[in-house]
């Protein structure tokens, strides 16, 4: 067991610059997981502001807590431009990066292939690549639960405001919506589906368009609470009563759900647990590099609030399955 990676550092300042020595084979990193004191986290889609988004904050908290328990250092990178992506590549190529957690990838992201070419153990959160393990919540199941809830309240003209369809979790939420409608025998109508890229101002426009094209809609499922809050604003402005005229349900159970008036029914994502689970799966891959990729799906939970059932009867209900 070569100690050369740690030795020079422990020897004090004169040696602290000695670059890591030791085996050069890329496979060698797998044999010495304990030499890797740092875990990289790459947040690839931080366009909406990494530190303004409760989803990322809670997920990162889970990751940081799980790393701290293992005395591992967090190296968080949020590349936006091509120059930043290049810097990210140089950083993850460092030998003391034991593994990488990839968050918020678009389907065309070069990062999963890069991790494989560098033979760095990697886990994705919310993005399924065949070759890598993935941790996400069961968004399709969660979306189905949301739309089934609307149907159970007697709603039939249910619109959807979806996230960016480059992002797999957004696709899953749209598919869950369609599946629930199909299961209830409600005809699909493509003009009832809007795509809003997970941005509040886009969701605002989407809701306005839906009201114009379908003034009689009686419910809307919105793929994030932040977008749902924008939709609630448009509906209120258009003098629609929520939920009497239009029931609204979001997704995430982030702080936006409680800040809207009325409070949002939503689908709770276990953000911190997702982060913890991602670290757990990554550590297994570091220890057992030849183990096959795993797909981990955590359950969501339907949270019923005033935006679907009015002021009374606000309860949290588990998804019956």
């Amino acid at each position: 067991m070569p100690q050369s990676d740690n030795g020079p550092v422990a020897n004090g300042s004169a040696g602290d610059a000695s670059p890591p020595a030791g085996p050069r084979s890329v496979h060698a990193r797998h044999a010495r997981p304990q030499a890797a004191a740092t875990i990289g986290v790459i947040v690839a889609d931080a366009t909406t502001g990494l530190f303004a988004d409760p989803y990322y904050l809670a997920l990162l908290e889970g990751i940081m807590a799980a790393l701290a328990e293992r005395s591992l250092m967090l190296m968080l990178m949020a590349p936006m431009s091509p120059a930043e992506l290049k810097a990210t590549k140089a950083l993850v190529a460092r030998k003391d990066i034991g593994g990488v957690i990839l968050v918020g990838l678009h389907t065309d992201s070069p990062l999963p292939a890069l991790m494989q070419s560098l033979e760095i153990p990697a886990v994705t959160v919310g993005h399924t690549v065949r070759e890598l393990s993935n941790v996400e919540c069961d968004c399709r199941d969660g979306a189905m639960a949301a739309v089934e809830h609307l149907i159970s309240l007697g709603r039939r003209r249910i619109a959807v405001i979806s996230g960016d369809l480059d992002i797999p979790v957004a696709v899953d939420r749209l598919l869950g919506y369609r599946e629930a409608l199909a299961a209830a025998g409600i005809a699909m109508d493509p003009t009832m589906e809007e795509v809003a890229d997970f941005l509040a101002d886009r969701a605002h426009l989407s809701m306005e368009r839906l009201l114009l094209s379908h003034p009689d809609l009686d419910a809307v499922f919105v793929a994030s609470d932040q977008m749902a809050a924008a939709a609630v604003g448009v509906l209120t402005h258009a003098r629609k009563r929520i939920p009497e005229d239009v029931a609204v349900i979001g997704f995430d159970d982030s702080r936006f759900a409680l800040e809207t008036s009325p409070a949002l029914s939503t689908v709770r994502q276990p953000f911190e647990e997702l982060g913890r689970e991602a670290v757990h799966v990554l550590m297994r891959h570091i220890a057992e590099p030849h183990e096959a990729p795993r797909q981990v799906r955590l359950k969501t939970k339907l949270v019923v609030r005033a935006s679907t059932v009015g002021r009374e009867g606000t309860t949290a209900a588990g998804r019956p399955s």
């Binding site: 040696g15 000695s18 004191a37 530190f51 460092r94």
Partner: protein, 322 residues
């Protein structure tokens, strides 16, 4: 690339390949001790548990990351929580040459400033001003913030004013404590060390500090707390103990984070523009990157008092308490 001074420091430079030194030090995949361009490291050496739940950190990161993104610089956050991780940080910093570093929450005894100076890494300390490190720093006026808070409490007639402080080894914690003492002394109120308790900028310790203060000084009529997050925790303890805020005990926090306005009663506090601090730190750093010889700068951002219900609630005392 700037050359290190001769002597031991020269060996300190991973880019220096002295003749006769075997090249075994070159890392795998031909990457070398890589200069990573377009990258700024943000180092939090005192990362508390629940770092991102602390609005101070998430807000300052927001300011830094948006200012970096505007300049196409990669935001790289390093959050070491323990001694062993500090070794990892050291390895990372010496083995990689990022364009520059922003340091947050450094303790006064940190090893980082010396390393940075020796290696001439462009750096800015954010949220604290170290006078003797020869590194640029930006912070809000912590001392003046405390004076504003105490003067406000004095103006509403409070005289038995306790303080829950932050870490005494962080300049912000220390400056806020000093400002508290100075303002009391200026008003001719004798200092009482048992009226000062440390909350370490953490919620749990702040709760315990408030409980201890209530036990030792059941007649206290105000408490000045060095962060909003700790102040909200202190208010919970006061409410549980049956104290009315502000009738029995007035409370002032520090930061003006969203939690201050959301608290019940809403919290009077000292506003520091945390996001602006982060953005300005990036501006300063970019200047140092462009001109490595530029002299270190100290920037102090102004603060202001924000009065809310926790000091001005419906029953504002008309006269000073006897």
């Amino acid at each position: 690339m700037s050359k290190s001074p001769p002597g031991s420091a020269a060996r300190d430079d991973p880019g220096a390949t002295a003749p006769g030194v075997p090249t075994r030090g070159v890392p795998a995949r031909g990457q070398g001790p890589t200069p990573v361009r377009n990258c700024v490291g943000v180092v939090v050496t005192d990362a508390p548990e629940g770092l991102l739940r602390d609005p101070y950190y998430s807000t300052i990161f927001k300011g830094i990351s948006s200012a970096l993104a505007e300049r196409s610089l990669l935001f790289l956050l390093l959050a070491p929580l323990s001694e062993s991780e500090q070794d990892a940080t050291r390895r990372l910093l010496v083995g990689t040459q990022v364009d520059g570093l922003i340091l947050i929450g450094l303790h006064t005894d940190s090893w980082l400033p010396r390393l940075i100076q020796r290696r001439k890494i462009p750096a800015v300390m954010c949220g604290h001003l170290p006078p003797d490190f020869g590194i640029s720093g930006i912070d809000c006026d912590n001392f003046r913030g405390s004076v504003l808070a105490i003067d406000h409490l004095l103006s509403i007639g409070r005289r038995r004013i306790a303080h829950i402080s932050g870490h005494h080894t962080t300049p912000s914690g220390l400056d806020r404590l000093m400002g508290y003492r100075q303002a009391l002394a200026a008003a001719g109120i004798p200092l009482d060390p048992t009226m000062e308790e440390s909350g370490d900028f953490l919620v749990g310790p702040a709760r315990m500090a408030m409980s201890r203060l209530l036990e030792s000084h059941p007649d206290l009529d105000a408490v000045y707390v060095a962060s909003d997050q700790m102040a909200v925790a202190a208010m919970e303890v006061l409410a549980k103990a049956g104290r009315r805020i502000p009738e029995d005990v007035a409370v002032v926090g520090f930061d003006d984070s969203p939690s201050a306005a959301a608290a019940s009663p809403s919290l009077s506090t000292i506003n520091q523009s945390i996001e602006l601090t982060g953005r300005e730190a990036v501006k300063m750093l970019v200047r140092h990157i462009a001109d490595p010889e530029a002299a270190p700068q100290r920037v102090v951002l102004d603060v202001e008092l924000v009065i809310r219900e926790s000091t001005s609630g419906s029953a504002r005392p008309a006269a000073p308490t006897p």
